[in-house]
């Protein structure tokens, strides 16, 4: 067990102490219980941790029996237990390792520092809704690592590797399916997605990614270089550090952490092959069109639909999966040269071929290379440190000078001559694009003309891809040798101990470069570009100048006499393009689509409702315009005057009405009740005019009353219409306007009992009943006929029920002129015996019959005929509209039911 160095005073304390015995500063973060538990064997220790302790006791011999379905603890045991397995571990190492490392890099870090591991620690201790499945997903990577470890002793030629892919391909779904199942069982996608959206920074995070060189957000960074993937992480940490530090359990932090873990996994797997494959739309779309936490989701369940079936993950995720599946299918068919498609294979955590370049690492130098790659990989988490909570300065910035000091380490140069055989080259070739590939390979593959460079530039962010391969690879050993410390500096003891116990190759490298071990070099080239002086490859200059022997001129034979020439070769202007974003239009489009989809998930309105509402508006507008059009056309055309008005015999009710009017003698009095609202006056006055004309002709006196509060005006309007229709406004014949009869049916009943007392005078001329030739005491007996014109079913029944019996007892006839809407209610009172209503006109049709009976000319060309003509046209149009529209709507509804059982139409079906 390693001692713990106090972050405050820098003195070492024995492992197990929680506080510094010198300055009492806290040594282990409060939430980082697992290490403490692993030491003390405390009870409530997560399974993975307990198994981890077991795993830590395993000897290396077990690794060959390590199966693909092994659990996280197993690979964790290999974490430090086996150098060859280390890359796999690094794939799974979350960024908080890097945070820890960052913390170690700054002994004078702020007190916030210990909180750095809090998030993942909390995540681990809270398996219910946090990344236990994520661990599994990352453990896939380790499993895949172990798969390739089985091939470790074989000297694999490139052609042989491609053959190995084929048996590997069928295995792809196996473990991930299991992972997906567990992942699905233990995580709730909507929840954490909600958590992400709840934090409201996902969309912004994505847009930010599109503006910054956050290539790793799109997976390109993962595929490309971990070196540069630090940049977005650092930026993000600045943007979200508050949430990041405060929130230790939200979906955002967990997923972000998990995303970076996966990102590193993707990197570790894909990087080796990056060199061999030109940029592919599919990988760009897959790795590049998604945040890495999403691509990690896809990796978690290749070919297993469960997650998006059960957890309701959004459609775009399905689409991405579909594209990914298509890519896998394509891989299964591609030729051996295409097989090592870094992007496609990098999507798949099961893809063990991504590390085939390590298969030949049994020789000493490959062991070194392996160690280099191991620790390069082990250093990745640092690159992904999103929050760098230790302090605001990213590690790479703090270790800048050390990085440059480390470049061109003797260990690297020492290896150069040993690279001689084709096999190594071919075996190593797939890795050449990656940042963690062995430098010996890097220097080889870095030579211009190899397919590596263009491919790499095409497949990684511009600031990577356009790098001179030499320079890119030159930096690798630095990471390699710095890795052990940077990764495990202040990791919890259980991890540091694991890493300290073994990994002999790493130990060799450590001995070779003790100083570099402490200096993790993690320098993005765009930063180099910002520091031209640093960007100069001084090491290259020194070495080259020392190695150069002048062979001509006065300085002939002298070594390093003219360094300037070399220096000039070494000095490069900073690449201005290094800060370009390598986002293709395709990626950007997909990003926009993704953002819009994610934002649209916040809008709760169901589409069906919108559709229903818009369709109802559409139907309403359509009905309106159809009716207007038809009515205007009918008015424009007009009825055919010569055509017969009506052929059918008049209904009995109309005949009875007509007969009762004919029976009126001149000078008799009629009570006319106009019980309709002004809105119905168009229809009612049109129907009333023939009646009033007839009454005027017969010299009958009319006393009018209305139960509508506008009654006085309704009566006056009818009077004016009559004068206008007869063309005699000065006609002495007038209706006695009693006006408004209050009290509804009760008032009506009171009026029927004592009319002269309820309404003593005319509202126009203040004429009393006596003035109008009526006997106030006689009441209703003054009238020989009562005519009720109404639009209301209630008014019909009230007159028939309240006044009708009184009238029957006094043998006064009751006639009605009714709007179409109340005509049906009159029928029962007309057909009863003895009839309460002695005749009625119900609607325009009956009015036409009546008009035809007593005024044939007016019936042929009067306003009633015109109204009826336009009305019948509009009626036919609206009936057709309702029938056709109803059929279409019903068909649409039935289709909608098939598509969407929970839709609105579904309720109708259910009721049916």
């Amino acid at each position: 067990m390693a001692d713990i160095r106090c972050p405050m005073c820098g003195k070492t304390n024995t492992a197990g102490r929680e506080t510094c015995r010198y300055c009492n500063a806290r040594l282990t973060p409060l939430i980082a219980q697992p290490p403490a538990a692993s030491r003390s064997g405390a009870e409530d220790v997560p399974d993975w941790l307990s198994s981890l302790r077991d795993g830590s006791q395993q000897d290396l011999g077990q690794e060959s029996s390590f199966d693909g379905e092994s659990e996280a603890p197993d690979w964790l045991s290999r974490l430090g237990g086996d150098a060859a397995a280390a890359p796999a571990q690094t794939e799974a190492v979350p960024d908080w390792f890097a945070n820890l490392d960052g913390a170690d890099q700054s002994p004078f870090a702020s007190p916030v520092e210990p909180a750095a591991p809090a998030q993942p620690a909390a995540s681990m201790s809270d398996a219910g809704d946090t990344p236990l499945p994520d661990w599994f997903m990352t453990s896939d990577s380790s499993n895949s690592t172990l798969d390739w470890l089985k091939l470790q002793d074989e000297q694999v030629a490139f052609s042989q590797q491609t053959e190995l892919i084929q048996p590997a391909a069928p295995d792809l779904p196996a473990a991930p399916a299991g992972d997906a199942a567990e992942w699905q069982a233990e995580t709730d996608v909507p929840d954490w997605m909600a958590g992400i959206q709840g934090q409201g920074d996902l969309a912004g995070w994505l847009s930010e990614s599109s503006e910054t060189p956050a290539a790793d957000r799109f997976g390109l960074g993962d595929i490309g270089s971990n070196t540069f993937s630090t940049e977005p992480a650092a930026e993000e940490s600045e943007l979200e550090s508050a949430e990041w530090l405060s929130d230790d359990q939200t979906g955002q932090s967990i997923d972000d952490w998990f995303a970076k873990t996966q990102g590193s996994a993707a990197f570790s797997q894909s990087a080796p092959q990056a060199a061999h494959t030109p940029a592919q739309p599919a990988p760009v779309e897959h790795s590049g069109g998604l945040p890495d936490w999403l691509s990690s989701l896809n990796e978690a369940s290749p070919g297993s639909p469960e997650p998006d079936q059960d957890d309701g993950s959004p459609d775009w995720l399905d689409r991405v999966r579909a594209r990914r599946q298509a890519d896998e299918d394509r891989i299964a068919q591609v030729s051996p040269n295409e097989v090592v498609n870094p992007f496609v294979l990098s999507d798949d955590p099961e893809n063990d071929l991504s590390f085939d370049w390590l298969n030949g690492s049994s020789t000493a130098d490959e062991q070194e290379a392996l160690a280099g790659s191991v620790f390069a990989a082990a250093s990745e988490p640092e690159q992904f440190a999103p929050a760098v909570p230790a302090d605001d300065t990213p590690d790479w910035l703090r270790n800048l000078n050390n990085d440059f000091g480390a470049v061109r380490s003797p260990a690297v140069t020492a290896r150069l001559p040993e690279l001689d055989d084709e096999e190594h080259f071919e075996a190593a070739a797939p890795v050449s694009g990656g940042q963690d590939e062995p430098d010996w390979l890097a220097e080889l593959t870095g030579t211009p003309g190899t397919p590596v460079t263009p491919v790499t530039t095409a497949s990684v962010p511009a600031f990577i891809g356009d790098e001179d391969p030499l320079e890119v690879f030159d930096e690798q050993p630095v990471y390699s040798q710095a890795a052990p410390d940077t990764s495990f500096g202040v990791t919890p003891d259980w991890l540091s101990s694991l890493s300290a116990e073994d990994a002999p190759p790493a130990a060799q490298v450590s001995e070779a470069e003790p100083s570099e071990q402490l200096e993790p070099a993690n320098l993005p080239t765009w930063l180099e570009a910002m520091r031209p002086v640093d960007a100069v490859n001084l090491e290259a200059f020194d070495e080259a100048s020392e190695a150069r022997i002048e062979n001509a001129g006065p300085l002939a034979g002298l070594r390093g006499a003219l360094p300037a020439e070399i220096a000039m070769q070494g000095v490069r202007p900073p690449a201005p393009y290094t800060i370009k974003l390598p986002i293709s239009a395709d990626v950007e489009n997909r990003l926009n689509v993704l953002k819009s989809l994610l934002e649209s998930e916040n809008s709760p309105t169901p589409q069906t409702q919108k559709a229903a509402l818009s369709s109802s508006l559409l139907v309403r507008v359509a009905a309106f315009f159809i009716l207007v059009l038809v009515a205007v056309l009918a008015l424009y055309i007009g009825p055919d005057q010569s055509s017969p008005v009506l052929q059918m015999p008049a209904p009995a009710a109309v005949l009875g009405f007509h007969q009762q009017l004919l029976n009126l003698s001149s000078g008799s009095h009629v009570l006319l009740a106009l019980d309709f609202e002004p809105g119905y006056s168009a229809e009612m006055n049109t129907m009333l005019q023939p009646l009033l004309v007839q009454l005027q002709r017969q010299g009958v006196f009319v006393t009018a009353v209305s139960s509508s509060i506008s009654g006085a005006l309704i009566i006056e309007q009818a009077q004016n219409d009559l004068a206008a229709s007869t063309g005699d406004p000065l006609n002495p014949w007038r209706v006695q306007n009693l006006g408004y009869l209050p009290g509804g049916p009760a008032g009506l009943l009171a009026f029927a009992l004592e009319p002269a007392r309820i309404i003593p005078v005319d509202v126009i001329e203040q004429k009393t009943w006596a003035d109008a030739g009526l006997n106030p005491a006689a009441g209703m007996d003054n009238f020989s006929l009562v005519i009720v014109a109404t639009d209301s079913t209630r008014s019909v029944s009230t007159w028939a029920e309240q006044v009708g019996p009184l009238l029957q007892q006094n043998e006064i006839e009751l006639l009605m002129v009714s709007s179409a809407q109340s005509a049906a209610v009159i029928e029962p009172f007309f057909t009863t015996y003895p009839p309460v209503v002695d005749g009625y006109l119900g609607g325009l049709s009956d009015a036409s019959y009546y008009l035809l009976a007593n005024q044939p000319n007016a019936a042929a060309n009067g306003p009633l005929r015109m109204y009826e003509y336009a009305y019948s046209a509009a009626l036919l149009a609206v009936v057709l509209f309702v029938v056709i529209g109803g059929i279409i709507n019903l068909a649409a509804a039935s289709l909608g039911v098939r598509k969407q059982p929970k839709g609105r139409s579904g309720r109708g079906e259910a009721k049916a």
Binding site: S819, Q821, T831
Partner: protein
């Protein structure tokens, strides 16, 4: 142009514009529709208030009371007292003090409701339904007595009786549900209710046609009014020689 025709012309324009404003609701609630309807509500309320104050209270109650107090006092004076008392309802704080006049109104309404429902609806309608098969009713309507007509009339009469009875049965509210059956209606009552519901559907369909027809007539009237208004205005500003 004399003043009355000018007023009519202005009125024509106002009516035409208000019509278009109301029609704008077809596209959804909007300012124009609100403007027209609020104007209408205010005008209707204003006219109603004027009618109550001027026609009812002044002309029909106060003037007779002043002219002939002895004859009208018994009805008008208590009515005025109760009416003014009722005005306290306009004040939220004093509202509860005016419950007694409301109690009078409700009591009178209840008596009217019972009497009207019993004598005005229930008995006449039951009597009319009984007459559906009454041959003397048929004779009173002077219908032909040919054999086929008589059979048709009889069938229709049975329909009316059966339909009225089953419709009335449809409204049955309660009963004792048999074991294992949730609905309180069962057996013959359930069957009758189902048939009655069919008659109700047909009756409401016919009534709906009446409502629709009346509304459609109003639509035609508005289109006619607008059509005439447009031509009148065109003729006014672009006189056709």
């Amino acid at each position: 142009m004399n003043s009355s025709s000018l007023f009519d012309l202005i009125g024509l324009v106002v009516g035409f514009v208000l019509t278009l404003m109301v029609f704008s609701y077809v596209f959804g609630d909007n300012f124009l529709f609100r403007f027209a309807t609020y104007t209408f509500i205010g005008a209707a309320a204003g006219y109603a208030t004027a009618v109550v104050l001027r026609t009812l209270i002044w002309q029909r109650y106060l003037i007779p009371l002043i002219q002939n107090p002895g004859e009208n006092f018994a009805i008008t004076a208590p009515g005025f007292v109760l009416g003014i008392w009722l005005l306290l309802k306009a004040s939220p704080r004093l509202s509860r003090l005016a419950n007694m006049p409301m109690a009078l109104l409700v009591g009178v309404a209840a008596g009217t409701v019972i009497g009207g429902a019993l004598l005005g609806t229930l008995f006449p309608q039951a009597n009319a339904t009984m007459n559906a098969l009454n041959i003397s009713t048929r004779n009173s309507l002077q219908l032909s007595n040919s054999g086929l007509d008589l059979i048709v009339w009889m069938i229709n009469g049975l329909f009316v009786v059966f339909g009225s009875v089953t419709t009335l049965a449809y409204f049955q509210f309660g009963g004792k549900a048999p074991a294992g059956q949730s609905s309180a209606l069962h057996g013959i009552i359930l069957r009758m209710a189902q048939i009655g519901k069919g008659f109700i559907a047909v009756a409401l369909g016919v009534l709906f046609a009446g409502v629709f027809g009346a509304a459609l007539m109003a639509f035609v009237d508005r289109v006619t009014f607008s059509w005439n208004a447009i031509w009148q205005l065109i003729g006014l500003f672009f006189p056709l020689t």
